[in-house]
């Protein structure tokens, strides 16, 4: 089978021993280093099922690396990761992934419908070609993101927002339990952002877990109910009202943040954060 499966042969036992099968995502003692320089240091994370979680942190905090480690795209130096009590390599069909838009070549000779159908490949497995059923799934997903009439467009003709919606449709046809999205709201128009948020919230309301690397501190409280603040280590994690505090943000972002008190007279949990100097 896959090399990843061979390397991860001990993970099952660990996942069971840790007794955290109730968590959608359970990470323990995770360290990832590039050339001896730690990008993530001794991370413990628990995200319960059925929440919409944001991962925030300054540039270089290791947000994307965290997702890549969960998906097996980078190899951790230490630690283990469980998705619903199983190592990720054993739960390929339960995980959907939306990479950053810049991760792919949008001049690739293919159509919108084709890209969305790629989301069904995990269910098809090796050798089987997508057929009518996959096409129907893909069309339904394209309809829900408002892109049905563009299904036969070549992908290079799409705007940034349309590209993001295609990626979202592709994740939806994966029909997973846990969705990982890397900055899905970066550089998209307001309509797309609304569509993305609405669809992600619908997924959450259907009992799925949605985990989003997010860059816009101002919308955290509006969109998400769970929050992980990261800066190489975990600064704070938990429900948004408890974790989204001025103190936590300052600990993560240091001087790179401006806190504007919203004037409720309460403590800094009512603060609106704006990341400065980006």
């Amino acid at each position: 089978m896959s090399i990843r499966k061979l390397l991860g042969k001990n993970d099952t036992a660990q996942c069971h021993r840790l007794h955290e099968p109730d968590q959608a995502l359970h990470i323990e003692d995770l360290t990832v280093a590039y050339e001896g320089k730690p990008v993530l240091w001794d991370i413990d994370i628990n995200i319960p099922p059925g929440v919409m979680a944001a991962i925030i942190g300054p540039n270089g905090a290791g947000k994307s690396t965290l997702i890549k480690a969960v998906l097996g795209l980078v190899r951790p130096t230490a630690g283990h990761i469980c998705i619903h009590g199983h190592p990720p390599a054993e739960s390929l069909r339960r995980i959907a992934y939306v990479p950053q838009r810049s991760a792919v070549d949008w001049d690739f000779p293919t159509t919108v419908l084709d890209v969305v159908m790629m989301g069904r490949y995990a269910h098809l497995g090796w050798f089987r070609w997508p057929g009518r059923r996959e096409r129907r799934h893909a069309m339904e997903a394209l309809e829900s993101v408002g892109m049905a009439e563009l299904s036969h467009r070549q992908i290079s003709q799409l705007s940034g927002g349309q590209q993001q919606r295609v990626f979202l449709a592709r994740a939806m046809v994966q029909d997973a339990d846990v969705y990982f999205l890397d900055e899905p709201m970066a550089g998209v128009d307001a309509t797309t952002e609304k569509t993305v948020v609405r669809l992600l919230q619908e997924l959450r309301d259907a009992g799925k877990t949605v985990i989003v690397v997010h860059h816009d501190l101002q919308t955290v409280r509006d969109y998400f109910d769970w929050l992980v603040i990261l800066n190489v280590r975990v600064v704070a994690q938990g429900r948004v009202p408890e974790v989204y505090t001025g103190e936590n943000l300052r600990r993560a972002y240091g001087g790179r943040i401006a806190l504007i008190d919203s004037g409720t007279g309460e403590d800094s949990s009512g603060a609106v954060a704006r990341e400065a100097s980006r």
């Binding site: 896959s2 990843r4 998906l71 990479p99 000779p109 293919t110 050798f127 070609w129």
Partner: protein, 296 residues
């Protein structure tokens, strides 16, 4: 009847040229889309090292051992390149440039030291001699066939089977390697097999067109097809057709001007590229102009 067809020099030259073009286009399409075109350059040079080493060990100049040796050398080239690039002291393109000349030089050195009287000489290594492919024959059952035709048919078939069997997986791994890895489709393994096939194609095509002209057949027809279509499946088909057309049209031109046959075939790929560049419906200069005017 069939037997006499395989002994006709012109038919064999055209057939060999067409097979080189088809086999090259099949792997080349994915290399071009992965922005790894120049790996074909690296591979086609470093297999000289493999060819000489295999010759020194077994005295086989072609055939299955040579093809296996080439596949290993190609994979070795890419592996060494990734190793050098992995140190992050040099960029990947420079790593390619460090590895393949070293292997190529080692091959030429070994050739000069230990294999002076073999027919592999530096000129053949670079340009090949497709005009003489019909001289080197072998028996397949009762049929006498040119060696180049036999081995080129084998590798063309291997490439075709690989691309058809793993079409969906190759497409995903080329477009979005991260998702491919996340879904368990082993993009790295697919990539190495593709490069191993590129190497076997290069060694089989070696006698016919040499290391340098081979690159033209791997890169130019896919680059041309890319200008003509927005579908991967059509890009594969067009690449093969353009490559074959280049080979077939190259021969009479070469005869007319009494110049290198392989060279003219490769030059024809350039002519087709230029035509697509100027006249292509969507990406061509004229097509763009037309679309612009219509849009006004």
């Amino acid at each position: 009847m069939i037997a006499s067809f395989f002994l006709q020099p012109v038919a064999m030259i055209l057939l060999t040229g067409a097979l080189v073009a088809a086999a090259g286009a099949l792997v080349g399409t994915f290399l071009v889309l992965q922005r790894n075109s120049m790996l074909s350059d690296a591979i086609s040079h470093s297999i000289v090292f493999g060819i000489v080493v295999v010759w020194l060990l077994t005295h086989a100049q072609s055939g299955p051992v040579q093809i296996l040796g080439a596949a290993l050398t190609g994979v070795l080239t890419v592996f060494l390149t990734e190793l050098v690039a992995g140190t992050r002291r040099v960029k990947r393109d420079a790593a390619i440039g460090l590895v393949f000349p070293a292997l190529f030089a080692a091959g030429v050195l070994l050739l000069n030291l230990y294999a002076r009287d073999v027919h592999i000489d530096t000129h053949t290594v670079l340009l090949g001699e497709i005009g003489f492919v019909w001289l080197d024959t072998m028996m397949l059952g009762s049929l006498e066939l040119p060696q180049a035709v036999v081995w080129m048919s084998v590798v063309t078939l291997a490439n075709l089977i690989y691309v058809l069997m793993f079409y969906k997986e190759l497409k995903l791994a080329t477009f979005d390697p991260q998702l491919a890895a996340a879904l368990g489709f082993a993009p790295t393994a697919l990539f190495y097999v593709l490069l191993a096939l590129t190497s076997t194609t290069a060694v089989a095509a070696f006698d016919a067109v040499g290391a340098v002209l081979f690159i033209a057949f791997v890169i130019v027809p896919p680059a041309t097809a890319y200008l003509l279509t927005d579908r991967l499946s059509l890009m594969l088909v067009y690449s093969v057709l353009i490559g074959v057309a280049s080979s077939l049209s190259g021969y009479p031109v070469a005869v007319m001007f009494d110049v290198s046959v392989g060279g003219t075939m490769a030059a024809m790929t350039g002519v087709f590229f230029l035509l697509a560049f100027l006249l292509g419906p969507r990406h061509g200069l004229l097509g763009r102009e037309w679309q612009r005017r219509r849009g006004e």
